[in-house]
Each structure stands twice: as structure tokens, then as C-alpha cells.
Amino acid sequence: MSARADPTLMKEIGLFGAADVSACFNCGNCTAICPLSKGDTVFPRKVIRYLQLGLTGQLEESPEPWLCYYCGECSATCPREAHPGEIMMATRRWLISRYDWTGISRLLYTSKAWEIGLSLVLGLIVVMLFALLHGPVVTERVELNTFAPVPSIETADWIVAALMTFFLLTNAGRMFRFTMRGVKAGLSVYLSEISTFFVHMLFQKRWRECHGPKIHWLKHFLLVTGYLTMFFLVFVFLPWFQTDGWNVSSLFGYYATAVLLYGTVDAIIGRLRRREEIHKHSHHTDWMFLFLLFSIALTGILVHVFRVVGLPHATYYAYVIHLAVDAPWLILIVPFGKWSHLLYRPLGMYLVSVRARATSTAAAGGVVPNPV
């Protein structure tokens, strides 16, 4: 059965930020220059090829986009200036929208207006909720926990977290289904490879195999640690973290905000300068991601500073704004937007290793004839 070429996918991927798919003349330079491209998982050309031919099914099944860390070497050396690195990036965006069954991802990625509009609506909802439901406003001193009682916030936290997790997990489930189409692996295989998932999630180990300076990896690693720290502070340790005084959790808060600020500012400057390959192309969702993350860090610091300095109103306003930017972040960007790569990337890596293990086991067991 032959695969049917579909000429419309190239245009579709253009909406996700890949402008030059057709410029590729399939020389294979990108695939061969990439140190991560080896064995059975070769990219970016394979992905570009699926795009050129419009092989939507094959593309959905491809974990390869998640194996690329976008060092940009392929783009810098591409003889046709087809920007394969950016095509991989766009394909990741497209995949996120394919995994997402709600269609929200697609809206965010393909429409600036929808992304900004939805973010504003969510922010306004937060502001309105506060306007209607906030606790007593103590003006003599800063009493944030009175203005925004931890149990309420925690409840909201958990609602959001539940929603987020639901969408993320159902989408990840779809990714799993796409990627493992036609692959049979026993539970033991899945269990034996589970460490892969966590190692890659926490350390982005593969990135270190990329050529060139390791600084990009380091920056990203710090950003991830900062982000995860903040995540746990807010979702698990909120009662300790959101206090009106100082406690040891603040130390973690300092670290997290510092690396988040540094990371986002550094990325924003990079994207404005457009010197390195990874910063040459910016999709509107990239800007939104950085803007929200930067705003979260900045407003978080402001809340803390105002509270420490003892400015009650400023603290409360800053807090509302802080949560108003948190909302679109948590509700849009995390499950439906760029953040989700934090889940899909290690999951992709995990599924690749499961697939490899399954294939080799099957081959060894004589189920599938060894091709060699």
C-alpha cells in the first residue's frame, strides 16, 4: 500500500513557523551534521521529507522532532538555506497541536489574535475573581495571606493543576498512541526504560552531545531547575511559600526567580539580536512564552519586595497581576503551548528507547526476522 502525497501540509506547517520546507533539496547535510542523528532515528531531513510529501500520518508517528535540541548547526550549514532547525521547531509546534485533542493548541499557534485574546481573558478572569472574592484588605501592614487566603489559592491551584494534568496527560496519551502505532512492547519493557524519561526530563542529557559550546545546555538546565523549583513551591509547598514573613522556602524562591529572570532576559536579548541560529527565527508563541515567564518572575519578585518593604497595596496589586499572568501560563502555555515540550521531549526519548528495546527483543526472540 503506497502512501498518498498531500501537497497541503507544506502550507500548513508554514502557519507554525516553517517557511522554507520546499527549499530543501534533500542533500542530507542536516542529518549528517547533527551528532544526535544516528541509528534508527535520523533527522531533520526525514521530517522535512514527510512535510514535503505531506505524509501527515508518518509525521505524527515521528518522535524525531523531540530528539532535536536546536543547536542550529544544520541551519548554519544548509546549502539551500532551508533552515532545517527551524523546520524541526515548527514541526514540534505542529505536533503539539496534533497531540492536543481540544484544538486549543492549534488556535494558539496559528493565530496571534487568539493567543493574545485568550491570555487576556484568563488574566481578566483572575482580576475579576479577586475583585469579587478577595479577603479583607489590611492596609496597616502587609497581610497577603489575609488578602488571598492560602486555602483558597491552594484550592484554585489544585483545580488548575487538575485541569492542566488532565489535558497534558490526555494529550501525552495521544502522543503515546501516535508514536507507538504498530509497535508491540510488553509492560516490562516500559518499566525497564522508565528511568530514561526522568533522566531526560531533569537533565536534558542528550543536549550535551550537541556540538559547540555547552552554555546553551547550561542555561536551559538552570531555567528548568528554576522552573521546577518554583513549580513545587507553588503547588506542593504553597502554605510554606506564601507567607507574610521570611522562611527557608524563600531561599528557594530567590534561586528560582533569579534563574528565571536571567534565563528569560537572556533569551529575549538573544531573540532581539538574532545572531545565533536558535534565536534567528521567533514565532509569536516564543515571544508569549518568554513574556509570560519573565512577567511571572518579575511580578513574583515585586510581590516579595513590596511585602518585605511593607507596601500593602502595592503587594496586593502585584499579587493580583502575578496571578493574572500565571493563569494564561498555567492554563494555556503549559498544557497547550510551548511549555508542554517539558513533557513531550522526555516522553519522546522514552518512547524511542522503548521502541528500540521492543524491536531488538522481538528480533532476538525470532518474532521479527532480523533484517541484517
Binding site: 542533500c27 542530507g28 549528517a32 544516528k38 526525514k46 548554519a76 550549514t77 546549502p79
Partner: protein, 446 residues
């Protein structure tokens, strides 16, 4: 030859004494027109004289080039200026005046008899560029076996001023205090035949062309294959080992926007196949691989040539080599996506790797003469289809690779076309005359 007189008059100035310039000059001279060939090197012959054998006939390149060189040198209507560079061409009414700088040869051209006694006496060794730097010549030397003129030239950078050459010269031809001279040539038409240079070896940093000794240029491979070349056989430069595995990396200097050379250089596929065939002749047990994006065997008989190479066991791998590194024992590793039904990334080791470099224009004449040059650096041809040799300036024509990459067959055909265009142009300028009447041999011809 007398080159002292200040001004000379010719019908045509041919800039460049490579195969295209020579062919144009010969065709013009056969029509009775007087021609001055200005060649920047010490010998005419251009790039072709350095080649081993040429596709698709596998004739030796010298066998084609040297007779044309000799014919030009002996032709009564042709004057050759070597070590001469055109510094400007200015239009004067219907005609042109070319200022030509004669670089010092430090040897009197009229006296030198090419006996090479000076060369044998000289102690200073210089890397021989003609041999790809793989062997050396003396500081005073006759450029190469078939050079025309067979006259010694002294390299002032490398000369240690010992004076031995002066003493041994039987005709007192060595003149150590020669200075550059300017002459003027008045002509009625000009042919630009300045040819090409290869893309630099270091153009693509991932290939480490200037850093790995066993990664060589195709012109060096030509010399290795030439039986009268530096080693007389094929050895790899780093350690003199006989290579068991040789690879050719195609499009190493063309069809690559990241190098600023988007165009196809037109000859690299065929010269690589030719070199591969010659190699498999001299090293019958060596594995030979050609890494290529598309094989462009488009000329008459070229496809059969390519097919024969495949049949001989030369391996063609579709895929652009992305990276070349030196590994153990001075071997060379290439990384490539093998674009076939398996579609794997492969790291393959070879003893010797040839970068199939492309063609860049050898001379930028924009500031020296009234002539249009395109974005690719080659001479602009405003109407390439039906007037392939006309430039933007009336009376100025182009021949060979100065107007874009070309193989020898096409360059020679175009050289003939340039000669035709020149002669028709001169005819038009002189409605009453005939070609034979228009003969105005060099004014200083004795």
C-alpha cells in the same frame, strides 16, 4: 622576443593564455588578425596544462594543450606576453588602450635558452605550486616541462642572492635587478579569457580542508595522477602511504549557499569520476567512493563514462558529506546521510579524501575595464542565448570560464564563438576592408 618598445598595436587583446584564450587567439590569427595574449603566469597553458587526463576520452591533457600552446607560440599573427597583467583597459574612440604591467622575470627573455643550468646551480628550494605543493623547485626555474616559453623565472621571495645562477648562465641572461615595466597595447577589440580559480580548500570549516593533510584539492589529485607528477604515483601526502580507500566529496565548493556559491560548477562530477577511474587503474585494489547529491554527466558521452565508472566498481553514495575529521593513523572520516532505501547516517573512514572544489572567477575586472560583472563574479553576458560571447561593452568579448563554469569541451567551443564574434565586430567597424587587409601585425615585429 622584443618587449622593450613602449606601444604596440594589435587587432585583438586576449586576456588570459589558458585553453580558451589560446583557442580564441588561434582562430583569430587563422583569419589573419593580429592578436596579443597577455598571461599573468610565467607560462601559457592555464589550468588545463596541470591536469593529468581529461574526460570523457581520457586523452592526456598535455596532448591537447601543448600543441595549441606551441601553435600559438609559433603563429606569425600572435604575440604572447607572459608574467604580464592587464592593469587597465580604456576606450579611446573606437579602440582600446590596455596598460599592461610586465612583472620582472629576472631573466632576459631574449637571451635565455632554457638550458636550466641556473636551476641546477640554485640551492634554494621552493614548494612547487604547480605540483600542488607536494614537491619543490628551485628559486630560479623553468616553470614546468611543457612550459611556453621555455625560459627560466626567478622567485625573488625565495632567492638567497648567492649569485650562482648569474655565474653559470651561458648567455648572461640572469638579471637580478629587473624592475616591473608598464607597456601600452592599442587594440581594436578585447577578449576576456581570465578563467577560474577553485573554491578555497577552507571554504567550508566542517571539512577542515586546510587542516587535514590527507584531505586534498582536485588539482593536487590531478598532479598525483599525472605520471610525470610529484611522486610519479598516487601516494597520500601526510605519510606517503599508498591509499587503499579514496573518497571524493562532491559539491565541496558549489551549490552551497552557506559558502556563497549557489551555482553548479559543472565540471566537478565529471572530473571526480575521471579521477576515480584513473585511480582504479593505478590502484586496482583500492575502494573508491564518490559522495554526491546529483551526478551531472550531461555532456556528449559523459553518461556512458559515468556508467562505466559504476560498472568498474566505483561506489556512488547519494548524500552531501556534512563533516570531515581526522581520525587514527591520519585517516579521514566523513559523515554523511546515505540517501538510499535504508536512509542511514554513516561514518566512513578513508585513507585519502578529495574535495571536489568548484569554480570561482579568477579575475575581477570591474575596476580595470568597462565591463559588467554579475553577482556571481563572472562576466555579465546580457544575451547569453544567441550572443554567448558578448559582454556589456561593445568591442569586449568573453571566452571560456570567465563567463561562468564550463568544461574544456564547452570552453573550447565557446572560444571559437568568441573569435567569430570578434571578427564579425571588426569587420563591421571596417566596412571597406577585408580580413586579410586588416592584418596589422605587432608593430615591433622584427
Amino acid at each position: 622576443m622584443n618587449v622593450r618598445a613602449a606601444t604596440r598595436v594589435f587587432d585583438t587583446l586576449v586576456i588570459g593564455g589558458g585553453i580558451a584564450g589560446l583557442q580564441t587567439a588561434l582562430d583569430l590569427a587563422d583569419l589573419g588578425l593580429s592578436v596579443a595574449i597577455v598571461e599573468k603566469d610565467a607560462s601559457i597553458g592555464g589550468k588545463m596544462i596541470g591536469l593529468s587526463k581529461v574526460f570523457p576520452t581520457l586523452d592526456c591533457a598535455s596532448c591537447i594543450t601543448t600543441p595549441k600552446m606551441a601553435a600559438a607560440a609559433h603563429h606569425e599573427n600572435i604575440r604572447i606576453f607572459t608574467l604580464a597583467e592587464v592593469s587597465s583597459v580604456v576606450r579611446r574612440g573606437e579602440d582600446f588602450t590596455a596598460r599592461v604591467t610586465l612583472k620582472p622575470r629576472f631573466v632576459d627573455e631574449d637571451r635565455c635558452i632554457g638550458c636550466r643550468l641556473c636551476e641546477y646551480a640554485c640551492d634554494a628550494d621552493v614548494a612547487d605550486d604547480f605540483e600542488g605543493g607536494l614537491s619543490s623547485h628551485r628559486a630560479i626555474y623553468v616553470p614546468f616541462t611543457n612550459a611556453i616559453p621555455q625560459i627560466a623565472v626567478l622567485d625573488p621571495e625565495e632567492c638567497n642572492l648567492c649569485g650562482k645562477c648569474v655565474k653559470v648562465c651561458p648567455t648572461d641572461a640572469v638579471v637580478l635587478d629587473q624592475k616591473p615595466r608598464e607597456i601600452e597595447i592599442e587594440v581594436r577589440s578585447v577578449v576576456v579569457a581570465t578563467g577560474f580559480e577553485t573554491t578555497p580548500m577552507g571554504a567550508r570549516s566542517e571539512y577542515h580542508g586546510n587542516e587535514i593533510a590527507n584531505v586534498i584539492s582536485p588539482l593536487t589529485m590531478e598532479r598525483l595522477l599525472a605520471p610525470h607528477g610529484p611522486y610519479g604515483r598516487v601516494l597520500r601526502p601526510a605519510d606517503g602511504k599508498v591509499p587503499d580507500s579514496v573518497a571524493f566529496v562532491q559539491c565541496a565548493g558549489s551549490r552551497d549557499r552557506s559558502l556563497g556559491v549557489p551555482y553548479c560548477s559543472r565540471v566537478c562530477c565529471m572530473y571526480a569520476i575521471k579521477q576515480a577511474m584513473l585511480l582504479s587503474g593505478s590502484l586496482p585494489f583500492a575502494d573508491i567512493t564518490i559522495y554526491t547529491m546529483d551526478i551531472r554527466a550531461f555532456g556528449k558521452g559523459y553518461e556512458t563514462f559515468y556508467h562505466n565508472a559504476s560498472a568498474m566498481g566505483i561506489e556512488f553514495v547519494k548524500g552531501k558529506v556534512a563533516r570531515i575529521d581526522e581520525v587514527d593513523d591520519r585517516n579521514v572520516e566523513v559523515r554523511v546521510e546515505h540517501i538510499d532505501e535504508r536512509g542511514q547516517v554513516e561514518e566512513r573512514r578513508h585513507d585519502l579524501v578529495v574535495l571536489s572544489l568548484g569554480m570561482l572567477p579568477a579575475a575581477d575586472l570591474r575596476d580595470r575595464m568597462p565591463i559588467g560583472v554579475s553577482a556571481d563574479g563572472f562576466v555579465t553576458v546580457p544575451k547569453p542565448t544567441i550572443e554567448p560571447c558578448r559582454t556589456t561593452e561593445e568591442g569586449v568579448f568573453v571566452s571560456g570560464t570567465a563567463a561562468g563554469p564550463k568544461d574544456i569541451v564547452d570552453a573550447i567551443a565557446e572560444a571559437g564563438a568568441a573569435a567569430m564574434a570578434v571578427s564579425v565586430y571588426l569587420k563591421k567597424k571596417e566596412p571597406e576592408g577585408c580580413a586579410a587587409c586588416a592584418v596589422t601585425a605587432g608593430s615591433d615585429t622584427p
